[in-house]
């Protein structure tokens, strides 16, 4: 069954894809059931739009999702799909990847699904570098269950489960993924269809686990959580777009940038003051993951200048099925396995 030995997700393994796939080929017949204005719509449309680029026929693409509003994603893609149980999608997808390396496997999960109940499976899938493209819809809230705090909800946020405000320090999904030895870690935004597609493209080309954090707006239970990065007036001054090999600059006219202080910590500077040569040059492939990690912690909350783009992208052998050939052996082989020399015959 597992014929191709490449990573199903890599375009080059495109075997027998019909010439012309279009967005429509990836739209299922199910009526979408998200709230009006939900960021999930934008991501769905961007993903469906991007799929044809993979050059992989829909039948070799699988979406495994967890439970949550984000989890419904599977029903809307006209590919193979499994809407699993809460938090376990990475584990289920790992089993699939271990046995079918001819498939392109995508996981869609939420901040609660991936980081609360599913935290263990996520970090292990990343550590093993399982060839999965994991889309983490981070709306910093529990949507489907109607508004409880999530592990990414900011301190002090009042929710149904925290009437006196969130008291627990939130996870930084990028930081956690890096801590889990992830080989590809990126962040993008639901409303930025272009940037989203760019990141999907890079992830698809990555031979291994790719974690993409997508800031996703939940207008019903946590509206405008990311307005600092999406609103006309604010986005230019707050989006720090990471680009490999380029000094890290941002602001409407790139007037600000990131530099290192004497002790090696990162700080925001005015380019005019320090000059471009003083800026940190972004290198997602650096051996030392320290830079990516520092960048992840530049902004604890997406309320001010916040990096988006690819934080880290390094190569490491991807998870493959354990030893054992792919095709079931002949009956003779089985015979030899059963009838060992120490066997004896009674007439």
């Amino acid at each position: 069954m597992s014929t191709s030995n490449g990573n199903g997700a890599a375009p080059h393994t495109n075997g027998g894809a019909p010439e012309e796939l279009t967005k429509a080929d990836f739209q299922s017949d199910q009526e979408t059931r998200w709230c009006p204005g939900c960021g999930d719509y934008a991501v769905l449309s961007a993903v469906q739009q991007f799929m044809p680029e993979l050059g992989i026929p829909p039948e070799r693409i699988v979406f495994v999702t967890g439970i949550g509003c984000a989890g419904r994603f599977a029903y809307y893609m006209d590919t193979y799909g499994m809407h699993g149980i809460h938090g376990r999608a990475p584990a289920i997808a790992t089993g699939l990847a271990a046995t079918r390396n001819d498939l392109s496997i995508w996981v869609v999960t939420g901040d609660g699904d991936a980081l609360s109940i599913g935290g263990n499976h996520l970090i292990h899938a990343l550590r093993r570098n399982v060839p999965l493209k994991i889309l983490l819809f981070n709306n910093q809230i529990y949507g489907l269950t109607k508004g409880q705090a999530s592990p990414t909800s900011e301190l002090g946020k009042v929710t149904k489960s925290t009437p006196f405000g969130v008291a627990d320090h939130p996870f930084n999904p990028i930081g956690l993924a890096l801590g889990a030895e992830a080989t590809f870690v990126a962040r993008t935004i639901d409303r930025d269809r272009h940037h989203l597609a760019e990141i999907l493209r890079a992830a698809a080309n990555h031979d291994g686990a790719a974690l993409i954090e997508i800031y996703q707006n939940c207008p019903v239970f946590n509206d405008a959580a990311f307005s600092a990065l999406t609103d006309k007036g604010l986005k230019d001054s707050n989006q720090i777009r990471l680009e490999a090999g380029r000094p890290i600059r941002f602001g409407a006219d790139g007037e600000r940038g990131i530099a290192r202080t004497g002790d090696g910590s990162l700080e925001v500077v005015e380019v005019a003051d320090v000059g471009e040569q003083a800026l940190v040059v972004h290198d997602p492939r650096a051996a030392d993951p320290g830079l990516a990690y520092s960048l992840a912690h530049l902004a604890e909350e997406p309320s001010g200048p916040t990096p988006i783009g690819i934080f880290r992208e390094v190569h490491r052998p991807a998870f493959r099925r354990a030893e054992g050939s792919v095709d079931p052996p002949s009956e003779d082989q089985l015979g030899r396995l059963l009838f060992t020399e120490d066997a004896w015959t009674i007439a």
């Binding site: 499994m82 089993g95 699939l96 054992g324 050939s325 079931p328 009956e331 004896w344």
Partner: protein
């Protein structure tokens, strides 16, 4: 000098010593020689619970028991006829199970003051007359071994000290006339790389043998004729773990599907993971998952991909797999969940056996989520159970729970190897695209099984999930009538398996008023107990259930045919409750919850107590 040779029908030998004394090795060698001789046999190792308890303590005692006979054997035996005790602790730990009159072969060199205290004795049992009820043979094995090894070029005294288990083996081999060549060959190739060590061991082994042959300490030699009532065929010695792994591999071959075992280590189930990880060249792969939940999820993921997904664990791990098994019930995908039962509750006694997960296997998930449950009853039977579990899972697109236990997994017996041709064909029957009628993921065949449409098949893209699904289309549905219908269908599908479940066969004459009905690893003990009762003229029948859900179609009839039904279980009466509830029959329980297998003697006792209307 000439020695008398006495005939014996059956003998039970137990090798006992410190974990470091190599008793498991002595035992397995003795087993191979015995098998080669054509005796029927059954064995049971008994490891200490601690990883490595302090040497010489009771907690550190390791034992290996073998039961061999000239007629078919049903259990590894209850009480040993001969106990080999390599140190005081070994003697003390095993004496309680030794019947008066049995033989003790003790390594007197090991009965030092220190060891005697470590074992908790106040005085030397070999000398204080406390063993007068037994036939005690005191043999300075350490000394004799050292002397035997001295001659060997380059063998250290350490090697000598290590070889005393082979001395014991040699001695016992002489006592029971086991062939020596088998063992010597094995030693040669085992230590081929270290000729000195090999030599040392051979010498020790020979020394043990000739010690029996020459000294006057031992005057009787026993002869156990080769078993004659064993059905013809080619046999090998397997424990339950080995047999189960072979059954799974065989199912993979006969179905043409690769198999993935995703498992998280836990005693005693880890052995299956170790066993299957070694298979190269077969389409069998293994993953050590991060936990049991992930392991179940991975197996399910493999099943979604069209392969055989298997996960194995023991009690605590089963609790954790419940939610995923429930998902598999809703998804209606094939999957096999192996539970090697151990003594609970909670962490309980990880190295001890029990049968207390039955009701959990059947009812241990939220909602109405029916799952077939199969339980092998002998080590060799684990092969068939593993194969059958995969076959049913695939045929009915359902998770199947296989209930083994510590005792089955670790005890071994000769197993008649099936010809590959004898094995059933397993047809995955993947869904294929049909022009002009699109896939209905929840349409059903005559067995109520749904299509298995696997990724990679053009045109069959579809989505499934744990939310209630509309019949046929599989779309999410909150419709009341549909939910009732789907609940009905899921139950009917599993219940329908009974059509393929072989009817319960009763062993016993028509006069029998009492039926002893068991399940799982107690079969040997039950049959042996029944046999003994019959030898005493008691009419009693017995039957054994291998399919716990659904039950064989004739179960009710069988139950109602008898005046009394006795169900021995290593739990507080779980099968009994089920049978009472399903068939309203006043089943009686014999419950043993001691972390030990049920013994033939106990079954015999329970039967006799009920013979001619005894109140039990």
């Amino acid at each position: 000098m000439t020695k008398t040779v006495e005939e014996r029908e059956r003998v039970v030998v137990r090798f006992a010593g410190d974990s470091g004394d190599g008793m498991q090795l002595a035992g397995t060698r003795f087993t191979d020689a015995t098998a080669a001789l054509g005796n029927d046999l059954a064995t049971l190792p008994n490891f200490p619970a601690e990883i490595r308890a302090p040497a010489g303590t009771l907690a550190g005692v390791s034992a290996f028991q073998i039961h061999f006979a000239s007629r078919d054997i049903l259990t590894p035996g209850d009480a040993p006829n001969v106990l080999v005790a390599m140190n005081p602790a070994a003697l003390r730990a095993n004496l309680p199970e030794l019947p008066k009159g049995a033989a003790i072969v003790a390594n007197e060199d090991a009965f030092t003051k220190r060891n005697i205290e470590k074992a908790g004795y106040d005085s030397n049992p070999l000398e204080d007359g406390s063993l007068t009820a037994y036939r005690l043979h005191r043999i300075p094995m350490t000394t004799l071994t050292t002397r035997a090894v001295e001659g060997v070029e380059g063998a250290s005294t350490r090697d000598a000290g290590r070889a005393k288990n082979l001395f014991a083996l040699g001695l016992l081999s002489w006592m029971y006339g086991r062939p020596t060549d088998v063992t010597e060959q094995w030693i040669e190739q085992k230590f081929g790389s270290k000729p000195a060590v090999a030599q040392a061991n051979v010498q020790a082994f020979k020394a043990g043998w000739s010690f029996g042959e020459t000294t006057e300490l031992l005057d009787v030699q026993y002869h156990v004729a080769r078993a004659t009532d064993v059905p013809p065929g080619t046999y090998r010695n397997v424990n339950g773990t080995k047999a189960l792994s072979l059954g799974l591999v065989a199912a993979s071959v006969r179905s043409g599907l690769p198999l993935l075992l995703a498992s998280y280590p836990i005693t005693p189930a880890s052995e299956l993971l170790h066993e299957l990880s070694r298979h190269k060249g077969f389409a069998v792969s293994t993953i050590q998952a991060e936990d049991e939940i992930a392991a179940a999820g991975m197996a399910l993921g493999a099943a979604f991909g069209g392969q055989i997904g298997v996960t194995a664990t023991s009690g605590p791990g089963m609790d954790l797999k419940a939610e995923t098994v429930g998902l598999a019930v809703a998804l209606e995908l094939p999957m096999v969940v192996v539970d090697v039962q151990r003594a609970g509750p909670s962490t309980g006694m990880p190295t001890k056996t029990e049968q207390s997960d039955l009701l959990m296997a059947i009812f241990g998930r939220h909602g109405e989520s029916p799952v077939p449950v199969i339980a092998p009853s002998t080590p060799g039977g684990c092969f068939d159970a593993g194969f059958e579990a995969v076959r049913i899972a695939i045929r009915y697109r359902t998770p199947v729970i296989l209930l083994s236990d510590t005792f089955l997994a670790s005890s071994s017996e000769p197993w008649r190897i099936p010809e590959v041709g004898e094995l059933a064909e397993i047809d995955p029957a993947f869904a294929a695209p049909e022009r002009d009628n699109p896939l209905l993921p929840y349409a059903r065949d005559e067995r109520l099984a749904r299509p298995w449409a696997i990724p990679g098949t053009p045109g069959l893209q579809h989505r499934i999930g744990g939310l209630e699904k509309e019949a046929d289309t599989g779309n999410v549905s909150y419709d009341a009538a549909n939910h009732a219908r789907m609940t009905e269908l899921r139950a009917a599908k599993v219940a329908g398996i009974s059509r393929e479940v072989p009817p319960l066969t009763v062993d016993g004459g028509p006069e029998a008023k009492l039926l002893v009905l068991g399940w799982g690893s107690s079969e040997g003990a039950i049959r042996a107990g029944v046999r003994r009762a019959r030898e005493q003229g008691v009419e009693v029948a017995c039957a054994h259930i291998r399919h716990l859900n659904p039950l064989p179609a004739n179960t009710g009839d069988v139950l109602s045919f008898f005046d009394r039904v006795l169900v021995p279980e290593m739990n507080t009466g779980q099968l009994a409750l089920l049978l009472r509830g399903r068939f309203l029959v006043d089943v009686e329980s014999f419950c043993k919850v001691q972390g030990q297998p049920i013994f033939a003697a106990e079954v015999e006792r329970e039967i006799l107590a009920r013979a001619d209307g005894g109140k039990g």
